[in-house]
């Protein structure tokens, strides 16, 4: 039903107004809802908070019964992690995520343009083709990718991993960018056409500035998926191109011994994406639903 046919702005304003109205008279029910929501929110966040705290403990304080809540924070674990040569993994993750995100945007922009504003014939088929590539399980293509990489000497190579991540994120980006493009006011584009703007000029001077926030959101979401990716990283890299999640694999066997160190490493591993996600949270749902839900 009327998901997007509702006149968005008026509806939103009305909704905001009713919500504001409801908020003014603070009833018992509203307080209960607030408290419940906070409890649930903190509960869901607690594993992350615990990781953050544990990273500043000494190992002896990290595994105690009952858990230690008060301690003198130390940076020892972070120092230990950096001494264990964490930096190359971090740089590999950053390289693969940033390079793939840039490539994705460069490829997705024109594709989304062709599938929305230019409306080439069969544009729907094109869109759904991209979506279907995103739904294909990674396990179905890992062997050929591994064998090809091995044959052309690209195994354990960060460029190859970046290309895989580009393919992985391309559908999300095409769908998202397209959803921003269809929202552009048509008059502006028509005016540009009348002025005789060529395709590239039109893109650079008119479309690009208008969808810049949307592009930034798309980029952040692609960055998140690339940074967190594990399956391709663990299958296709070994030492030279290994990324941060592969670094964490080293902690599986040393279970119970280095919790504080593991927490410090995990904090560094998750921080870039948590920050990116908090910044992009307004657009997160659009990215997750491939642009289907605003």
């Amino acid at each position: 039903m009327a998901v997007a046919t509702t006149p968005q702005t008026t509806a939103e304003r009305a909704a905001a107004a009713t919500r504001r109205g409801r908020g003014r008279k603070v009833s018992g029910g509203a307080v209960a809802i607030g408290i419940t929501a906070w409890v649930v929110g903190l509960l869901f966040f607690s594993p992350v908070l615990w990781m953050f705290l544990t990273g500043f403990k000494q190992e002896a304080q990290a595994s105690t019964d009952p858990p230690t809540f008060f301690f003198t924070p130390t940076l020892d674990q972070y120092r230990a992690i950096l001494d264990r040569n964490f930096a190359p993994y971090f740089i590999n993750s950053a390289t693969a995520s940033v390079v793939s995100t840039i490539l994705v945007i460069i490829l997705a922009m024109p594709a989304a343009y062709a599938l929305s504003i230019a409306r080439i014939p069969k544009w729907r088929d094109g869109l759904f083709f991209f979506m279907s590539t995103r739904m294909m399980p990674a396990v179905a293509s890992i062997l050929p990718l591994y064998i090809i990489a091995k044959n052309i000497g690209m195994l354990d190579n960060i460029t190859f991993l970046s290309l895989i991540y580009t393919a992985m994120n391309l559908p999300i980006a095409v769908w998202m960018v397209r959803s921003f493009l269809v929202e552009l006011p048509k008059e502006v584009l028509e005016a540009a056409r009348v002025d005789g703007a060529r395709l590239l000029t039109e893109m650079r001077r008119i479309i690009l500035p208008m969808i810049a926030p949307g592009l930034a959101a798309t980029a952040l979401i692609c960055f998140i998926f690339a940074w967190n990716e594990f399956f391709f990283a663990v299958s296709l890299t070994a030492t030279k191109a290994a990324t941060v999640p592969v670094f964490l694999v080293g902690f599986i066997t040393s279970e119970g011994l280095f919790w504080a160190r593991l927490s410090a490493a995990s904090t560094m591993a998750v921080l870039p994406v948590i920050i990116a996600g908090w910044v992009a949270q307004k657009w997160l749902v659009r990215g997750l639903s491939l642009g289907a839900v605003k």
Binding site: I148, A167, V285
Partner: protein
């Protein structure tokens, strides 16, 4: 709805040019912006899959690439009669269904909470989406150590007032442990999609229901839930597609064990390929997974297509 009636912006001066009026050359000019992305996607996703199909008819060892030979459908026969494969199928279904349902129920509950106005709503929303942002590999390791550990874990500490002793969660309830971690990770995803649905409700209709004296529950059941239906469907279907592919949590927490208790299809295929080096069987299993995914994906595309037509 009414896609055809809409004026394609790019061709505004020549309204609805029939296919015959577009010369081949013009068609390619208009298609050209699409081509790089299309070629890229085909080369990196479709061709490897075709190769997987090709390998699935071969007997091939990953470490001895020269020894491939054509064996027909025998890999499929071996995979289908393999108890471990059937076990993996069953585990995958159990895992996916549990996680999708649990995270959807929690997601709806949280979305309803977040749709209300209360102090610090933005902060609570941010806290709630964080589990989805945490690198799954890191999240899984943290749950395994600091939450599930029988002696020092937070879970047993929280449950100790209720008489729960030093339970070794991962070895005694391996599947439930994995389900718990994944539910924690996927609830925000469901919540965000449902919340978007809630916030797209027309406030006039809700106001009208209130004026007519409908109770909050009746309004939720009769108006909100039907409106949410397609959002819930979308969440369930997209969630299924991603959760079927779960790999990180299993690799990090249980390594598919104890025994084969938590080996799902992706992990099974990974083991076949990179531990047993059996390219043929691994590829055959991969093809089967894709076939199953296509079934789910068909439904997804239908739902998205509906959402999408209303927009266009």
């Amino acid at each position: 709805m009414a896609v055809d009636a809409e004026v394609p912006v790019g061709t505004a001066p020549r309204r609805r040019p029939g296919p015959k009026r577009l010369s081949t050359r013009e068609l390619w000019t208009r298609r050209s912006p699409l081509l790089p992305a299309l070629v890229f996607a085909v080369v990196l996703t479709q061709l490897p899959f075709l190769l997987t199909v090709y390998y699935s008819f071969q007997s091939r060892n990953l470490l001895r690439p020269g020894t491939a030979e054509f064996v027909g459908l025998s890999n499929y026969g071996k995979v289908f009669t393999d108890d471990l494969f059937r076990n993996a199928v069953f585990n995958t279904v159990e895992l996916t269904v549990s996680v999708v349902l649990l995270s959807m129920v929690l997601g709806i509950a949280f979305a309803v909470l977040l749709d209300k106005r209360f102090f610090g709503r933005g902060v609570v929303r941010t806290l709630l989406i964080t589990p989805f942002l945490v690198m799954p590999a890191a999240g899984a390791l943290l749950w395994k150590t600091s939450i599930f550990n029988p002696v020092f874990g937070l879970l047993n500490w929280v449950l100790s007032p209720f008489g729960v002793g030093d339970v070794d969660w991962v070895s005694r309830f391996p599947m439930a442990s994995i389900v718990m971690v994944l539910t924690w990770q996927w609830t925000p995803f469901m919540m965000l999609i449902v919340l978007a649905g809630l916030q797209s409700q027309s406030p006039e209709v809700l106001e009208a229901a209130k004026v007519d004296g409908a109770t909050a529950w009746a309004t939720f059941r009769r108006i909100t839930l039907p409106h949410l239906r397609q959002f819930i469907e979308l969440g369930i279907l997209l969630g299924s597609i991603f959760i079927v592919q779960t790999f990180d949590a299993i690799f990090m927490i249980t390594q598919g064990g104890p025994g084969q208790a938590t080996t799902n299809l992706p992990y099974f295929i990974y083991l076949k390929a990179f531990r047993a080096f059996d390219v043929g069987q691994s590829a055959a299993a991969g093809v089967i997974v894709v076939a199953a995914t296509i079934v789910i994906a068909t439904f997804v595309l239908r739902v998205v297509s509906n959402l999408f037509q209303e927009e266009a």
